[in-house]
Amino acid sequence: MKVRYFAWVRERVGLAEEDVDPPSGIATVADLVAWLTKRGEGYAYAFENPKVIRAAINKTHVRADARIAGASEIAFFPPMTGG
């Protein structure tokens, strides 16, 4: 699946997007965050406070307990500040 990062999450991870293949035990958005956090310092910094991280699956807002099965694109970003 494709994972995309925006704003300071993108800066901290050091990537705008990447393809990942999480193991089968990774079932929810929160699981994916925990798994990504172990990939390196940038990830750990980006996800140091998972409560503030927002997520979208296939371009729709989801909560941390959303299941990721079947997702083609998952995005992580800070609270939005548009308008």
Binding site: R4, F6, A7, W8, A56, K59, T60, H61, A75, F77, P78, P79, M80, T81, G82, G83
Partner: protein, 161 residues
């Protein structure tokens, strides 16, 4: 209902967009336009510019979803939402919402609803350039509260027959 949603780098012309909503029709009695403008300060510190990052496609989809929601709550006859991205200097427009209806109440309410949701649910992020460096704007609790007040259950309008 006429809906225009545009995400663009370029500046926009609020009065021209408002005229497009009413052009050639006589059933519209009220148009409300809101324009969000880049200020020259952030928390009391001068800024050189804002840079807006967005999530293409999702931003359009989220705005479209909220336009539909506004349409289900109020008898709006037209909606235009234009949100810029990229670098924006103080004094320049960032976003506009225009709503048209037969009467003012629906146009005012729909415009306010759309702006409150744009602030908290549309995937845009503002970065500010200050003398002290570049920082990301933090989400404000007041904006969350403004959006939250619309989330109480509301009686749906009768579907158009």
């Amino acid at each position: 209902m006429d809906t225009i949603i545009r995400l663009q780098r370029e500046a926009f012309d609020v009065s021209a967009e408002a005229k497009k909503l009413t052009g050639g029709r006589t059933d519209i009695g009220a148009v409300v336009t809101f324009t969000g403008i880049c200020r020259a300060d952030e928390n009391g510190e001068p800024i050189a510019a804002l840079t807006l990052e967005h999530y293409p496609d999702m931003a359009e989809a989220e705005i479209a979803r909220h336009v539909k929601e506004a349409q289900s709550r109020w008898p709006v006859l037209g909606v235009t939402v234009i949100h810029r991205f990229g670098r924006i200097a103080p004094g320049e427009d960032i976003v506009m919402v225009a709503t048209a209806s037969s009467h003012r109440q629906a146009a005012f309410a729909a415009a306010e609803f759309l702006m409150d949701y744009l602030k908290t649910r549309a995937p845009f992020w503002k970065q500010v350039e200050k003398v002290s460096g570049t920082t990301w704007v933090e989400a404000k609790d007041a904006d969350d509260a403004a959006a939250e007040r619309w989330s109480a259950p509301v009686p749906r309008r009768e579907a158009a027959k």
